[in-house]
């Protein structure tokens, strides 16, 4: 069970009341109820409300004890809701529906009569904090799943990598390809990677399985082209830049990367440097003509 130290945390219902509890017609409405009354202390709460303010020490003690008990019960309920939220998030990662009996067995325990209360509050947290909707799949069997309410993004993984290790590896390969005259034999690529301690089928802690990353992922994402070299026996294959690489980087940028690796200036390789300059000029022209076309469209 959770054992959070006393911190005077704000009771959950306060925060919840601020929330917009709108639900669209498709989802099973799981509205958070406004009242929070743990059954076990319902008696104490009712008594508290009904009793007259007592001025005797005994009366004051009794009142204090009831308040303490009520607060403890509230906290226990809070913790159970929090545990259920964590439980649902963990279970959802495995993509298997979660059953009510699992929830009761692992989280809710003897508060199971308050299940509707608890799950409603958990649902509200999931929605407000994480952007997940808790949806009941099956009314008869009480199974639930989480639906992501945030808009889906294509290739989010790749968008996040930026200059991380996987794209760093890609840069090395793009560099090799460019320096070898815009195409490199597969054997050359693996030879270079071996020098970095990267083997095709050996699991690497940064890249996973390199062979899969390069031959499948990079090719599918159009960072690399992979084709058979004609008239080779035994058949050889070669890599060249894919269309996406041309969009996301440039010959000049890759040359700069290679130059830095070797601690030299790009001009150290005159052939590649000239080619990169020409490429920059082409891009500038293409950019200008797009802008020109765009400006004519304004009229």
């Amino acid at each position: 069970m959770l054992q959070k130290p006393e911190s005077g945390a704000l009771p959950i219902p306060q925060a919840e009341r601020e929330m917009d509890g709108s639900h669209d017609g498709e989802t099973q409405p799981l509205t958070a109820s406004q009242e929070m009354s743990p059954e076990e202390d319902l008696g104490a709460v009712r008594e508290e409300g009904a009793s007259e303010p007592s001025l005797t020490p005994k009366g004051a003690r009794a009142l204090a004890a009831k308040t303490l008990a009520r607060r403890r019960a509230c906290r226990r309920l809070d913790r159970t809701v929090a545990e259920l939220v964590q439980f649902l998030l963990l279970k959802d990662r495995k993509k298997s529906p979660i059953t009510r009996s699992e929830m009761v067995k692992y989280v809710i325990g003897d508060l199971k009569d308050l299940f509707p209360e608890i799950i409603a509050r958990a649902a509200e947290h999931l929605r407000y904090v994480f952007g997940f909707e808790l949806k009941q799949l099956d009314r008869k069997h009480h199974t639930y799943i989480l639906i992501n309410k945030l808009k889906p993004i294509e290739h989010e993984e790749e968008a996040l990598r930026g200059d991380g290790p996987r794209l760093g590896l890609l840069m090395m390969i793009l560099g090799l390809i460019y320096m070898k005259g815009n195409s490199a034999r597969e054997a050359q690529v693996w030879a270079m990677l071996r020098r970095l301690g990267v083997r095709p089928s050996k699991y690497h802690f940064l890249f996973g399985y390199p062979k899969r990353l390069i031959m499948e992922d990079f090719v599918q994402l159009r960072y690399l082209n992979y084709r058979r070299v004609p008239h080779t026996n035994p058949p050889e294959c070669e890599f060249s830049w894919g269309p996406r690489s041309n969009l996301e980087t440039s010959k000049m940028k890759v040359l700069g990367f290679v130059a830095k690796l070797h601690k030299k200036e790009p001009q150290h390789w005159p052939v590649q440097y000239r080619e990169a300059l020409a490429d920059e000029a082409d891009r500038a022209r293409a950019g200008a003509s797009v802008r020109a076309r765009a400006s004519t469209h304004l009229w």
């Binding site: 069970m1 925060a15 495995k94 904090v129 945030l150 290790p165 690796l261």
Partner: protein, 266 residues
């Protein structure tokens, strides 16, 4: 917000996406967290100014507090990189692993954890871990299988492997700090400087105090004659450099190379 005694943060889709992605990754380095934050703003609120990361995270943590979880910041023990993970504030924290691993696999992790904590270097050899395979709870596991399970732990960032030996990943240290202190109160080591849990570090050969490598780096920065802060004896180990994120960006992909050069010093 009306009548609240404490200001709770506001969640928007920017924050929600951030949380979702941080949860997916388990643990992220600071540079990746910043990129993640930028990405979330770009997707949901591209005109807003990106809040300073510390404030952004504090805002989210104030909302998470009622759920007994928080985004915790730590530092990798070997080279002082800041890392972030979403951690449970409760004590029973092998629980996050429980959803991904079977009973015997969790027990293997517990055995490895114990060996790591008991060790002097903070590392447990593959051989020593595998020799405990017969003592595992649950379904019987062969050594070959256990090797794969250890790799799964590395893949999921619970363990780090270096030259056939295993230590705890920064993520495990962040998530299991309380659990470790409570379960192994006698064997646990603590850094003399920051007082946090210590798995890998340097130790004084005279008085035995220990310090994290990044703590050593900061403490002895620009000190040409380092002395033990406790017994004042000469500090015999090489003082590492303080982690500098700017320098890191310049050198690009040298991270993997740096790791292989780092040696353990005890």
């Amino acid at each position: 917000m009306q009548g609240s005694t404490r200001r709770t943060g506001i969640m928007t889709d920017v924050h929600r996406r951030f949380l979702q992605l941080l949860m997916t990754h388990g643990v992220l380095e600071e540079c990746d967290v910043k990129r993640l934050q930028k990405h979330c703003y770009k997707v949901h609120d591209c005109n807003a100014t990106i809040e300073k990361l510390e404030d952004f995270i504090n805002n989210i943590n104030s909302v998470l507090e009622s759920l007994y979880i928080e985004i915790k910041k730590g530092v990798t023990e070997d080279d002082g990189r800041p890392i972030y993970a979403l951690v449970n504030l409760a004590t029973t924290s092998i629980s996050k692993m429980a959803s991904d691993f079977a009973e015997n696999e969790l027990d293997l992790f517990r055995k490895a954890l114990e060996l790591i904590i008991d060790s002097d270097t903070g590392f447990a050899s593959s051989t020593n871990i595998l020799n405990l395979v017969d003592q595992l709870k649950g379904k019987k596991m062969r050594k070959k299988e256990a090797e794969h399970v250890l790799q799964k732990f590395v893949q999921n960032k619970w363990l780090i492997e270096k030259e056939g030996e295993f230590t705890l990943h920064g993520r495990a240290i962040l998530e299991m700090d309380q659990y470790i202190r409570e379960t192994y109160p006698d064997a646990v080591k603590v850094c003399n400087i920051c007082r946090s849990l210590l798995i890998q570090g340097q130790s004084c050969e005279t008085c035995g105090i220990r310090m994290h490598l990044p703590c050593v780096a900061k403490y002895f920065q620009s000190n040409s004659e380092p002395h033990c802060p406790h017994c004042n004896d000469y500090w015999p180990h090489e003082v590492p450099e303080v982690f500098d994120p700017e320098k890191e960006r310049e050198t690009g992909m040298s991270r993997s190379n740096k790791r292989s050069l780092r040696s353990r010093q005890h």
